[in-house]
């Protein structure tokens, strides 16, 4: 795949837009369709696209395994941490109303953090599965 000039140029042009679209899906999820899961999958798809065109070693250099593995755990920790923060502030587990003086703002903060946790875990897991699968082959697939 490394010799296909058109593919390389198109990939370089497309990947920034994919990442921006992922951020849009993430942060606009309150108003339109989308949210953490979808955005996480799109982030992973952008990196997998990069790996398909430029080869798995290049992608592993860009997004190292250690980062991906810590992302997997970090997302769950963000989600659980949000829940425990609600408990520490005097509410129930995953109670967002107490996260801010204004209950509606609290809900916004809570949903934002939780969606961020989902994004981090989902993109980490998807990437890790791809890395492990593709790493077993001698060549990157595609």
């Amino acid at each position: 795949m490394r010799d296909f000039f058109v593919l390389r140029v198109v990939a370089k042009m497309l990947i920034p837009f994919m990442l921006i679209f992922a951020l849009y899906v993430q942060f606009h999820g309150d108003f339109g369709p989308g949210g953490g899961f979808q955005a996480g999958v799109i982030v992973a798809a952008a990196v997998i696209f990069y790996a398909l065109i430029f080869g798995l070693p290049a992608a592993r250099l860009l997004v190292p395994d250690a980062l991906v593995e810590s992302m997997m755990a970090l997302g769950v920790l963000i989600y659980g941490g949000t829940g425990i923060a609600g408990m520490l502030l005097g509410g129930n587990f995953l109670d967002y109303f107490v996260l801010s003086a204004n209950p509606v703002t609290g809900q916004h903060v809570g949903i934002f953090l939780v969606e961020a946790g989902v994004l981090v875990t989902v993109s980490g897991v998807m990437l890790k599965i791809f890395y492990v699968f593709a790493g077993r082959a001698k060549l990157p697939p595609g």
């Binding site: 369709p33 979808q38 967002y96 599965i129």
Partner: protein, 177 residues
């Protein structure tokens, strides 16, 4: 159209064709979900079903080869069990309320409260988001943990064996030397 696709997936023995066809199936499913006004689910179906899983299946083919081997013999009991389960599912679906029936239990239980109070209580206009992340936060936490566990499982299964292979290969090299 979709039934035709499924049939060709079953009949087709070249796995590369099967993967491409199931990607097409996922995209068609996404359009059906858009028609049902489930845009969030459609987005997930298009990204996961048609995108990521296609890539993963392609890399699996890369490892395992693209031709499906012929079954040694056709098993009648397996066919009977599959047809029986399918018939039971169809029979069960007959008992469901009519599609978009406003009196169905799903529309009368907690949904009216979510629809009436949700936007005011959370300040978030997208109902899918606030039900998922706020009212059903426990469930979504569970889902995130499931995704995490799946990742851990894949790591545990595949990484360990590769390391073993490497050490075996190293042992062979040492043996040769």
């Amino acid at each position: 159209m979709m039934a035709l696709l499924v049939l060709s997936v079953v009949v087709q023995r070249n796995l590369f064709v099967v993967v491409v066809l199931s990607g097409i199936y996922s995209f068609l499913m996404a359009t059906v979900l858009v028609a049902l006004d489930a845009v969030d689910v459609a987005m997930t179906e298009a990204a996961v079903g048609a995108g990521i899983s296609t890539v993963l299946l392609l890399s699996a083919i890369h490892l395992a080869g693209a031709e499906e081997s012929r079954p040694l013999r056709y098993r009648l009991p397996a066919l009977l069990v599959s047809v029986g389960v399918a018939a039971a599912l169809v029979y069960g679906s007959l008992g469901l309320p009519r599609f978009s029936d406003p009196a169905a239990p799903i529309h009368t239980h907690v949904v009216p409260r979510y629809i009436q109070d949700g936007p005011r209580e959370t300040g978030v206009p997208n109902m899918v988001t606030f039900v998922l992340a706020s009212y059903r936060g426990y469930d979504t936490f569970g889902e995130t943990t499931v995704v995490f566990t799946a990742g851990i499982g894949v790591i545990a299964l595949l990484r360990g064996r590769r390391k073993k292979k490497q050490s075996e290969a190293n042992a062979e090299i040492r043996h040769d030397a």
